[in-house]
């Protein structure tokens, strides 16, 4: 077996750039296999560990019920951030990040933004009255993408054969996640235990975890040109869950870290010329066909510039664009179109 590490410690280091060039591949370069295999292994494999000293996020999340309003229909459920404290791994240098979030349950739930190398200790509390319905007694957080052991799977004993990993009206449950190298990306977290053995994720119990890569850069399409910009140049993050009948959005202002719930099919607004990043996660039963007419972006993992994408439930899809014209984001699938599953993307001059 041969090893290579894709996570360059510094985007400007010569080694990374060389590697990038070599990956494009040509007959001549492929004559140098030993160099290609060996260099990255020796140079980066060790430095990869060095960067894993990250921060610790201590989070208390609440699971709430949102009763049906005047319009009737089914109740929904949602997560709410109760507290988020960031510190060094040993607990020193605490920063309270709770003010980033609204003080209400939201759909999607709070977006948890961390860096590769960080760890998360997330305590879930079941704070609503389940009434006489035993099926509402358990609620959990199951996360995608990052590392966790079987006790933080967020499933019931019937599935994991260890224990019910749930918060109940009388007991909280703490999950531990490690954003180890190789886990950078945007991942969903969601319930896995309420109502059914598969959970009630499609009743509103979902949110996003953004793991920013160490010194990550973001690829942008600027007039057909592939441009790489630093993560710090992204002004806004739009977390957009594509459920079966609507987009549910959460906006994050990267200057302040402030999160704003956008509800269903929101109008998005961005300053002309600013860079914004979309984090799409599908959730439910429907396969979506996402489009943002007038814009195109880099298909993650590739060098392709594309302008629409088919996304299935719990697939995640991240891309960035530079805001330069008004348009609408939309799901062009048949039923989604009839349901009006779209919203404005407005550019403010």
């Amino acid at each position: 077996m041969k090893n290579i590490n894709f996570s360059c410690t510094s985007p400007t280091s010569d080694e990374c750039l060389k590697l990038t060039v070599r990956k494009k591949g040509s007959a001549k370069q492929s004559m140098l296999p030993l160099l290609v295999f060996a260099l990255p292994f020796f140079i980066f494999a060790t430095t990869g560990f060095a960067q894993s000293v990250g921060q610790l996020h201590q989070i208390e999340l609440w699971a709430e019920k949102i009763p049906a309003g005047a319009e009737g229909g089914s109740e929904r459920f949602a997560y709410q951030m109760n507290s988020h404290v960031i510190s060094d791994m040993d607990g020193s240098n605490e920063t309270d990040a709770t003010a980033r979030y609204v003080t209400a349950p939201t759909i999607p739930g709070p977006t948890i933004v961390i860096n590769e190398g960080d760890e998360v200790e997330i305590t879930l509390r079941h704070v609503f009255d389940p009434g006489d319905s035993a099926t509402l007694d358990q609620v959990s957080v199951h996360v995608h993408g990052v590392h966790y052991d079987i006790l933080s799977d967020g499933t019931i004993e019937y599935i994991n054969l260890v224990q019910d990993e749930s918060a109940t009206p009388t007991m909280s449950y703490t999950y531990r996640w490690t954003a180890a190298p190789g886990t950078a990306g945007t991942w969903a977290y969601h319930d896995h235990n309420m109502i059914t053995l598969n959970g009630a994720e499609d009743r509103g119990l979902y949110g996003a975890l953004i793991v920013n890569g160490a010194a990550e850069t973001v690829a942008l399409d600027q007039g057909g040109q592939l441009v790489t910009v630093p993560l710090s140049s992204i002004n806004k993050e739009y977390v957009m869950f594509m459920v079966d009948d609507a987009f549910f959005g959460m906006e994050i202002d990267n200057q302040t870290g402030q999160q704003t719930p956008l509800l269903d099919n929101p109008a998005l607004a961005a300053q002309q010329g600013s860079n914004v990043r979309f984090h799409l996660v599908a959730l439910g039963t429907v396969t979506h066909n996402f489009a943002l007419p007038g814009y195109s972006w880099i298909d993650p993992g590739t060098n392709l510039i594309i302008s629409e994408k088919i996304i299935g439930p719990l697939e995640q899809y991240v891309f960035a664009v530079q805001a330069n014209r008004n348009t609408q984001y939309m799901d062009t699938a048949f039923s989604s179109s009839l349901l009006g599953m779209k919203g404005d993307f407005n550019v403010i001059p």
Binding site: K2, E71, I150
Partner: protein, 930 residues
């Protein structure tokens, strides 16, 4: 079929470099030739599978294959550039072929008993499906893995983030996970030995073993998710970007799809029973989960565990020591909506195609293989003990309708009846029989989806439902009024074990005798007599009836429109529309001038526009999944269609055939309402019976705003299943199918009362003289079991309800009491009012499991008192001499559902009729609710 030009997309960048290096440095890699003999076989549960007969390779060694037919079929491992020659012998009784990406077009299927050869070059690297086109969802699928000539496979992501290239020789194991319906079909390959793991297995590996997954799909969309592991998305080398695409969910889409990846078991996360499932919520809810068990090193570590198998413990199965699998195909075919895959063999015993028998611990498996609709697979009945304790799958249900299938393990002996919530007469039953007890176990007590608990199986309700099951699921058990033969219902002649009122087991009861004693046998059917034969007035115009089950020569799908001339009571025309294979036509409405009929196809997604004058099709458009009822706004003439399989009412603007917008029936993110038979108030409110959310929805027809959604039903609040709405002058009536009631509201949605149609019925006791008596003391014995359509007459004075249980009830709207009951046929379903010549109205009533239309005169003497309502006449829906666009071949006139009298005389619409349709109507009929 998958594109044949997908090239080298399946290898990672390092693998690509490896390959390039190998090609550059070496010319010793030579393409091999594989000669493969396969057969197609019928498995013991009726499913089909491919079997490896022989495989020789010019390279020498070939894998060790299972010696029986398996699902998925044998995995064919070849290398890029190899030549593959396949000879397929078909030992089944249907045509079987092999579709393989890259195979030259024109390769034909082998007829039953025949042989067909296929020859192709492995020109595209990656994991590809091979499958039969036709029976693919029944088990005829497998994987062909085309690896790089040097054996490089997908790299994996280490726990520390490094990406490690792997050669196939370094793999500890490979798994095939085929995602089909709502089931994983697995196989394992270790050191060249292929082992079937069947359905939803436990895949196992020792921690840090390097294993490759081959995930494939057929027909339906799936998203594969493995807990706590992540892997590389597949990118063609030429398209490789600067960073890897690390994923933990992968969409498989289209006709057939394949994806493969390598993981190091438990890396970064440790040992554990890791969940592995499809992340499509409806598939999760229908049981689509397996496991990936990562073991600490140890003696029995890493041994996978197979799931339920077609060879296992089912009735007549060969291996009673392994958990077995019974399979139902979900179908649009009348009666056989849940058709056992081995129904040809079982039906002589079970007298239905929809009943299976298996041992405790085996699984029931459903696959939506013969339907264009969305469905749910929902337990209607289950043994009372089956949902107690640490049981998580019973009751079995899904939140919304979907495409796929279901798998559910049944441990508790007894009777399970499955239905579809969208099409609630679709029934499939499984008897889980403990082989050590006498008689087939129906269980002592059953629970019903409506919330009824611990119902003794000796009760009238239990056996009545069982009888309904045998009538509904067997075409031969339907009432044929064109025959003089008495009506005979076939029941299985088997001993059963049921429970008495005290919960004691009663062994060895002859089921056939019990049902015949209780409900009669060889019943003479009433002779047909039209209203004219009875001296009653003629109707006005035509009645269009959806004879939804009638089969014609030029279609695979059932259903016709039967057009009745009410002047002569003769069938004027049959409309089958073979050109579009019209599928289960369910409900109709007419345009303002009556020149165009709008027709829904309930087991499809189409709305069809038909010329009233000659029956010719005008247009056929996609409208939404399982469209049920259609109706125009009396003001704008815009067409509204309730999308029963989804969450909206779709609008087609007047004068067009293209849907432009929908009105969601619930707020975003709420459970879909799945509206069925809506109606529109004179003021333009759309009122929907929301079958999935147990309420009646009131919506502003102009803005689409949700006004209010009051609860429906009251007898059994757990699942009343509101299914149809009727609207009078100032009140709304909702029929609640499983609540056996009518909910009454004012136009603002305020509940007024609930009319209990079961008030005179004793469901618990064994059938006897007191089963039906005047319990509510109103001087009448009336019962309405499973009410469906429930229109109010144009004057707003009387509600006529068609009750599936075989009765017609009439409610006087001035008192909201049942004032009369008339007999109806099994599956009594559709009703609408048309003008009676000279004044007044007829209610035309159709039945699913008979072939006659019943003409009800709710007020023969016109005195406004409906207690003397009578059947004015009956008309055969079968007529082989009628003009038709496609010859009727079977089920003549059967399946009566939607009914549309023309001219449309409902208040609000009648006023808009053109002059030619107004002639023949009285002044009162032209202004019915002044």
């Amino acid at each position: 079929m998958k594109s044949i030009t997908f090239g080298f997309k399946k290898i990672t960048v390092m693998a690509w470099i490896c390959l390039a290096v190998m090609l550059f440095c070496s010319n010793i890699v030579l393409a091999a030739t594989h000669d493969i003999e396969l057969s197609a076989e019928t498995l013991p549960n009726g499913q089909l599978g491919y079997q490896m007969i022989s495989h020789t390779s010019s390279e020498g060694a070939t894998p060790s294959y299972p010696t029986e037919a398996v699902i998925p079929g044998p995995t064919l491992f070849v290398k890029l550039g190899d030549t593959i020659n396949i000879s397929l012998t078909n030992n089944t009784n249907v045509a079987v072929g092999m579709n393989i990406p890259g195979l030259p077009a024109g390769a034909e299927a082998a007829a039953g008993g025949g042989t067909q050869s296929y020859s192709f070059a492995a020109s595209q690297q990656g994991t590809h499906p091979y499958y039969d086109e036709g029976s693919q969802l029944l088990g005829l699928f497998g994987a062909i893995v085309v690896d790089a000539p040097d054996g490089t496979v997908q790299s994996f992501v280490e726990g520390d983030g490094t990406i490690t290239a792997v050669n196939r020789t370094e793999l500890d194991k490979e798994y095939i996970m085929y995602m089909v319906g709502s089931t994983f079909w697995g196989a394992e390959i270790v050191n060249g030995t292929q082992t079937p793991l069947w359905t939803n297995p436990v895949l196992a590996a020792v921690q840090d073993e390097v294993v490759r997954f081959h995930v494939l799909s057929i027909e339906h969309d799936h998203t594969f998710h493995l807990h706590a592991h992540r892997w590389l998305g597949e990118v063609a080398p030429a398209e490789q970007g600067d960073t890897p695409n690390i994923i933990d969910v992968k969409l498989l889409t289209g006709k057939a799809d394949g994806h493969s990846f390598t993981v190091k078991a438990g890396t970064g996360v440790g040992a554990g029973m890791w969940h592995l499932h499809c992340h499509v919520v409806s598939h999760m809810e229908s049981g689509m989960a397996a496991r990936f068990r990562v073991d600490e090193p140890g003696a029995s570590a890493g041994n996978s565990v197979a799931g339920a198998t077609p060879y296992g413990a089912i009735l007549l199965g060969p291996n009673q020591s392994e958990p077995g699998l019974v399979t139902f195909e979900v179908s649009d075919e009348p009666g056989s909506w849940f058709r056992s895959a081995r129904s040809d063999a079982l039906a002589p015993i079970t007298k239905t195609r929809s009943l299976e028998v298996m041992s405790p611990g085996s699984s029931a498996h459903f696959v939506m293989s013969d339907t264009n609709a969305v469905h749910t697979i929902t337990t209607l009945i289950w043994p009372s003990e089956a949902d107690e304790g640490e049981q998580h799958s019973i009751p079995f249900d899904q939140t919304k309708a979907y495409r796929g299938g279901a798998t559910v393990k049944l441990d508790t002996p007894g009777l399970y009846v499955f239905t579809c919530k969208i099409h609630p007469y679709m029934f499939g039953a499984v008897i889980v029989d403990d082989p050590s007890t006498e008689g087939l176990d129906l269980g002592t007590k059953i629970d019903l989806a409506t919330g009824i608990k611990d119902l003794p199986t000796i009760s009238d309700l239990a056996t009545r439902i069982l009888r309904t099951f045998f009538v509904a699921t067997t075409q031969e058990n339907w009432q044929d009024y064109t025959s003089t033969a008495p009506w005979t219902v076939s029941y299985p002649d088997v001993p059963v074990a049921i429970g008495d009122l005290d919960g004691n087991v009663v062994d060895n009861l002859p089921l056939k005798t019990v049902l015949e004693d209780r409900y009669g046998q060889n019943i003479a059917l009433e002779q047909l007599k039209t209203p004219a034969d009875n001296g009653s007035p003629a109707g006005v115009g035509e009645v269009w009836i959806n004879t939804q089950f009638e089969k014609t020569a030029g279609k695979t799908k059932p259903g016709t429109i039967t057009v009745l001339d009410t002047a002569t009571w003769k069938i004027k025309r049959k409309i089958a529309l073979p050109a579009i294979d019209m599928n289960n036509p369910h409900n109709m409405w007419s345009s303002r001038d009556q020149s165009i009929i709008f027709q829904t196809q309930w087991f499809d997604n189409k709305l069809t526009f038909i010329n009233q004058a000659d029956g010719a099709m005008i247009d056929n458009v996609r409208i939404g999944d399982s469209p049920s009822h259609v109706m125009t706004f009396p003001t704008s003439d815009d067409i509204t269609v309730a999308i029963n399989g989804e969450n909206m009412v779709v609008r087609v603007p007047a004068g067009t055939t293209t849907p432009d917008v929908s009105m969601p029936t619930q707020l975003a993110g709420q459970i879909p309402a799945n509206p069925h038979g809506h109606w529109i108030t004179p003021e333009g409110k759309i009122v929907t019976p929301n079958i999935n959310t147990s309420d009646t929805g009131f919506y502003d027809g102009n803005t689409g705003q949700i006004l209010t959604r009051p609860a429906a039903g009251g007898n059994f609040p757990h699942g009343p299943h509101p299914i149809a709405v009727g609207i009078g002058v100032d009140k709304v009536y909702t029929a609640n199918l499983l609540d056996h009631s009518l909910s009454v509201y004012d136009f603002d949605g305020n509940p007024i009362t609930t009319i209990n149609l079961l008030a005179d019925y004793d469901p618990i006791s064994p059938t006897g003289p007191t089963t039906l008596t005047d319990k509510d003391g109103d001087g009448l014995v009336t019962v309405g079991v499973f009410p469906i359509q429930t229109p109010v007459d144009p004057t707003g004075r009387v509600v006529v309800t068609a009750n599936t249980g075989g009765s017609i009830t009439l409610v006087d709207t001035s008192t909201d009491k049942v004032v009369a009951m008339l007999p109806c046929d099994p599956g009594c379903h559709g009703v609408n009012f048309g003008a009676k010549a000279g004044g007044g109205y007829y209610a035309y009533v159709s039945s699913k499991f008979s072939n006659r239309l019943i003409v009800v005169d709710p007020d023969p003497n016109g005195d406004g008192n409906f207690a003397d309502a009578k059947i004015a006449g009956t008309v055969a829906m079968a007529d082989s001499s009628a003009t038709t666009d496609d010859a009727v071949v079977s089920l003549a006139g059967m399946g009566g559902q939607g009914v549309l009298p023309i001219p449309n005389v409902y208040n609000g619409w009648v006023q808009n009729l053109p002059g030619e349709w107004k002639t023949g109507l009285t002044g009162e009929q032209l202004d019915p609710a002044p």
